[in-house]
Amino acid sequence: MCLGIPGQIIEIIDADNMLAKVDIGGVTRSVNIACIVNDQDDLSDYLNDWVLVHVGFAMSRIDENEAQKTLALLQELGEMQQEMDAMQSMEPQS
């Protein structure tokens, strides 16, 4: 059972029961955030965080840096590819 979708915490609904309102592309749902908070934190510290939601539970805080790293790697790959394509098209046909 793998379907997990990124969403943004936009409101704390019920701090006692660890419930937050999460926005997923314009649709909202109450989501239990017990798995991603530290005991001593105020729940409002997590407002605007992006989380991975699976069956109504936030299971991970999405790491923006790691996301950027992955995309940057792919971006670089794409640029290298473009350079190679350009080089090959300039080479004299032998």
Partner: protein
């Protein structure tokens, strides 16, 4: 505090005075036209008037059992008129008259029925048709789910119109008049079982005026259907099979609202299979596509019209989707109901 006047009871369906009062008070006043007001056992029409309006008589019937009765963007009454009007219009017919058969579960609030009738009248006026005859039955509690409505419609198809699913040819353009999946998402949301909140509205609307303008611009539209239950994918599969061609769709061009997309992503649903109640799919000669789109976009029912693909030779009888990712896959007809998945 409810009195027996506030709800529908079995006596309202018994054929006696209570039923007569209900028909007078609610239906005759509500649907407001001379033919119905005559309250004969049948509606009568002058044949020569009908014949002069066109070449073929078109007739269609549909039953509406939607739950909940009222949902964002519409209700069962609006659906009952639009659905049948649209089924006539996609054959190129000018819709004329509707019948309305109601099966009411004992205990339904009278006010609910009043609102449904009002909604039907408003929609009928918008579509330019009249509801001219009907029937009312009341059944025991539990024998029906609140309210079922059947509407049968007749219309006239002018000469020179030949719309058939088998007429799709390789090279034809595939047009749609706006966003897909709104109705299916709105209903699932309104049922409340999935505890999602959104502002998605049903797209329920009559399409006959839009279609009339399209046919005016291009009388040689090959195929036309409304993409209701089973969604866009089911209609395209029907076209492909009837014409033995391939409906080749470009996923990047499919219009899906952000909220409907979000809804589908959470539940693992595919917008291609979600129901629509105000969307048509038109297969048209390629040369006419741009002009048609321009006309459609000027109409309130078509402002987000777009070309989503083209008809090709193969694979015959199938719908092919070129994915936004650069891949390709076949899209089959919907089997059973689409169920949310968590995997």
């Amino acid at each position: 505090m409810s009195s027996s006047n506030d709800i529908i009871t079995l006596s309202h369906g018994a054929g006696g005075k209570a039923m007569r009062d209900l028909i007078d008070d609610l239906f005759v006043k509500g649907f407001a036209n001379e033919t119905l007001a005559a309250l004969e056992d049948q509606a009568r029409f002058d044949l020569s008037t009908i014949c002069s309006a066109g070449k073929q008589l078109a007739m269609t019937t549909d039953s509406y059992v939607v739950d909940p009765l009222f949902f964002p963007g519409g209700d069962i009454g609006k659906l009952a008129v639009c659905g049948t009007v649209n089924d006539l219009a996609v054959g190129g017919a000018i819709p004329l008259y509707l019948s309305c058969g109601m099966i009411i579960e004992e205990g339904l609030p009278l006010e609910t029925l009043r609102q449904v009738v009002l909604s039907m009248k408003t929609t009928a006026d918008q579509a330019g048709i009249q509801i001219v005859t009907g029937d009312t039955k009341v059944v025991h509690k539990g024998a029906a789910d609140k309210l079922f409505i059947n509407t049968t419609g007749i219309g006239v198809i002018p000469a020179g119109i030949d719309i058939q699913a088998q007429r799709a040819k390789p090279g034809d353009a595939i047009l749609i008049n706006g966003f897909i999946g709104d109705h299916g998402a709105a209903i699932a949301d309104a049922r409340g079982e999935l505890s999602l909140e959104s502002n998605i509205q049903s797209d329920c609307q009559p399409l006959n005026d839009l279609i009339a303008q399209m046919l005016n611009t291009c009388p040689d539209i090959h195929c036309l259907r409304d993409a209701t239950r089973g969604g866009l994918a089911t209609v395209l599969n029907e076209f492909a099979e009837a014409s033995q061609t391939c409906m080749s769709i470009d996923e990047k061009r499919l219009p899906v609202r952000a909220a409907v997309r979000g809804f589908c992503e959470i539940l693992g649903l595919d917008p291609l299979y979600l129901a629509n109640e105000g969307k048509l799919v038109a297969i048209v000669p390629a040369a006419a596509a741009e002009t048609l789109l321009a006309i459609m976009r000027q109409h309130p029912a078509g402002k987000d019209s777009v070309c989503i693909g083209e008809v090709t030779q193969a694979p015959q009888g199938h719908m092919l989707l070129k994915t936004a990712f650069g891949g390709e896959r076949l899209v089959d007809m919907l089997v059973g109901d689409q169920l949310p998945r968590i995997c």
